[in-house]
């Protein structure tokens, strides 16, 4: 059967949709009757007041602008370090750390499955010295770090490296600031990360949180992530519902370890800024409101602090197009604006060249400048929640709240978010959302400029678009990859095994005994245990294969421990 011909009129001069991106049907106009159900005190509150719909601070951005961040993650530690310094000089205040894809999957660069994506998406940060080099000269204890990795092993290990670096320098680790995504649902639902099975992920997640609450109070050790499920297909309703469900489940698990929500403090969500402008703004306001309610009514929070939700943003990479990449500047700018109007706390905007390759430096500076223009020229952040009270926005926020609640009821009815992951139901939901979007695009019910409407051929594009295409960051060459493999092998061979072995033994024993492994990971990492070995040893502690890919054997010093 031939695919149905798209009925998109490339010269469409009229609206083709009457619904938001997630399918909420809209009227042409809204008035007082649409917002009459709203109680100002109960549903909105002043900025800085429960339920924090209008923002978590009374004066919002007057006192504190949102943190400006990027995932800065180039192929080598030197480049990444250089870029951090450059961006900080241009006003970035929040360092979002990542590593290459094999490392996020739980393996070292000398693993055979690492080759094809090695140094892609970031540095192969397999051990402490690489981290030292990547973060050289950056102010530990002052800067805000965010760990944005995919695999659950990454949070445990890289938070461990940050702590190890501070301790090695004699610094007080209580000063460590930032957050980890550490979301055990997203890691499997979106990425299918091979490092650990879900039940292990769930325990690792709690180990990291428990250690952090007791030792690094300015670190937020979980930030349930809606960005990646959203990029995987979830709409705004299911994105927010998922985050609320994860946060609730993990806080309930944590209570079983003796840490209540008041002790835990404010929650952070990592949300997506999508192209639908008002729906995105409504989502941020609603996220704060719904979390405040859950924290208070279900989890028993008694302090304002414990009811507050901070929102960290990654703008939608998926919304960016390879076709006419200059158009991405308009998309990103609108997404940034929706974040500011929605009162978010940190913002990592995608770059205009991101559909072509890793972002170039210049595209990143554009992102920062766009935020400076919104702040200092457009004066948007002068007033807290400037759209609060809009008939349309308040109606939309209420409508979305009902939809999110019914999604949460569905999850509850099936035994909670972990049961929904394990049964495959969440995957089916994501797949059907994705299919709907694909169908709408094919049918011309969802127009993407330059893609299924207002197209032009690549060779009709002008020099600006061409230049954007040409400046995107290039993936590392074969020679660079070979060099990295040599380096990791040398590093492993050069370690003091007499120091490493007892600390690795301790990690294995702690895992087997069901203890919290975070401190053992930190100490072993100080002695040179790599990320891949850390994953392998924890896996052995759970009685599963050392290698998640079942391709390599455990190293001799680990075999010595297991057999000894």
């Amino acid at each position: 059967m031939e695919p149905e011909e798209t009925r998109v009129d490339r010269l469409a001069g009229h609206m083709v949709r009457t619904a938001t991106q997630s399918g909420i049907e809209l009227k042409p106009g809204y008035g007082p009757d649409d917002a009459s159900h709203i109680s100002y005190r109960k549903d909105l509150g002043d900025p800085g007041e429960y339920p924090f719909t209008r923002g978590i601070y009374p004066e919002m951005y007057r006192n504190r602008l949102w943190l400006k961040s990027f995932i800065v993650s180039y192929a080598t530690a030197e480049e990444t370090n250089q870029a951090f310094r450059e961006y900080i000089a241009n006003g970035m205040t929040d360092l979002r750390l990542l590593c290459d894809l094999p490392t996020q999957s739980g393996i070292d660069p000398d693993h055979p499955s690492a080759w094809n994506s090695m140094m892609c998406g970031g540095v192969a940060t397999y051990a402490l010295p690489v981290y030292e080099e990547m973060l050289a000269g950056l102010p530990l204890g002052e800067a805000v770090f965010e760990l944005a990795h995919a695999g659950m092993s990454s949070f445990l290990y890289f938070y461990g490296l940050l702590v190890a670096m501070m301790e090695n320098r004699g610094m007080d680790i209580r000063k460590l600031r930032g957050n980890s995504i550490n979301d055990p649902i997203r890691t499997k639902l979106v990425y299918g990360c091979p490092d650990f099975p879900t039940h292990t992920d769930r325990r690792i997640c709690l180990d990291h949180i428990e250690f952090s609450v007791r030792n690094t109070p300015s670190w937020r050790p979980i930030a349930p992530n809606g960005v990646d499920p959203c990029q995987g297909g979830m709409d705004a309703i299911r994105e927010l519902g998922g985050c609320l469900a994860v946060a609730t489940a993990v806080m309930e698990d944590l209570r079983d370890r003796g840490i209540g929500i008041d002790e835990y403090g404010p929650m952070v969500f990592s949300l997506d800024a999508e192209s639908d402008f008002f729906e995105t703004i409504a989502k941020f306001r609603l996220a704060r409101k719904m979390w405040a309610r859950i924290a208070k009514e279900r989890l028993g929070a008694t302090t304002d602090r414990a009811m507050q939700l901070k929102i960290g943003i990654r703008t939608s990479g998926l919304s960016l197009t390879h076709q006419k990449p200059l158009n991405n500047a308009a998309r990103v700018t609108l997404q940034i604006l929706s974040c500011v109007l929605g009162g978010v706390n940190s913002l990592d905007a995608s770059s205009i060249d991101e559909a072509v390759g890793l972002p170039s430096q210049e595209a990143r500076i554009f992102n920062l400048d766009a935020q400076h223009i919104i702040t200092h020229e457009a004066n948007v952040p002068l007033v807290a929640d400037p759209l609060g009270g809009s008939y349309y926005l308040e109606w939309l926020t209420g409508k979305m709240e009902r939809e999110v609640n019914s999604y949460l009821e569905e999850i509850e009815a099936q035994g909670g978010i972990f049961a929904c992951l394990e049964s495959g139901w969440l995957g089916v939901v994501m797949e059907s959302c994705r299919a709907r979007v694909q169908y709408e695009k094919a049918e011309g019910d969802r127009l993407i400029v330059g893609v299924n409407a207002f197209r032009c051929e690549e060779d009709e594009e002008g020099p600006i678009n061409e230049a954007i295409r040409d400046t995107a960051y290039r993936a590392p060459t074969v020679a660079m990859r070979e060099e990295r493999v040599r380096e990791v092998k040398e590093f492993k061979a050069g370690r003091d095994v007499r120091r490493l072995q007892p600390l690795t033994t301790d990690l294995l024993r702690t895992t087997r005994e069901g203890g919290n492994v975070q401190r053992a990971v930190i100490e072993a990492a100080k002695a040179g245990l790599t990320l891949g070995e850390c994953v392998g040893v924890i896996r052995l502690g759970y009685g599963i294969d050392y290698d998640p890919f079942k391709q390599i054997d455990m190293p001799d010093f680990v075999r010595g421990i297991v057999e000894g």
């Binding site: 094809n116 559909a355 072509v356 797949e431």
Partner: protein, 133 residues
């Protein structure tokens, strides 16, 4: 009327690239267009992809990758196909591609080479054109 054999396509991801949406979207689109699709899932090896292509008797391999490594991956898959005497299986690629990558891929005989957001109809038409006699 004799039932025509459906076009069989292997959609493959090699290495640790976690970006799966392109592969999943294409899987559905090709099925909707009446093709049979075998998707390898993530975290595959080049050997695994080549042997799946042979054992599943596919007409076409579609490589998906968003790390910028498509030329490296395609080169390895082609080597593995040679080792299995299966060089007649055409390959197409999609994901993050620079103009240099596209040129490198074309030099290896990999056609198509689509960036993100390419309408699926374009890819369907390309596969139909390549595979149908």
């Amino acid at each position: 009327m004799q039932q025509e054999r459906k076009i069989r396509v292997l959609i493959a991801k090699v290495g640790c690239d976690i970006h799966e949406r392109g592969a999943l979207t294409l899987s559905r689109a090709l099925r909707d267009a009446g093709m049979e699709v075998i998707y390898t899932g993530r975290y595959q090896t080049p050997q695994g992809v080549a042997s799946a292509a042979v054992s599943e008797d596919v007409d076409m391999i579609a490589l998906s990758d968003h790390t910028g490594s498509l030329p490296i991956i395609a080169g390895q898959v082609i080597d593995e196909l040679k080792a299995l005497d299966a060089t007649n299986v055409p390959i197409t690629a999609g994901g993050l591609l620079t103009p240099d990558d596209v040129k490198a891929l074309e030099d290896m005989g990999v056609s198509g080479n689509y960036g993100p957001g390419t309408p699926v109809e374009v890819i369907v038409a390309h596969i139909n054109g390549l595979v149908k006699p």
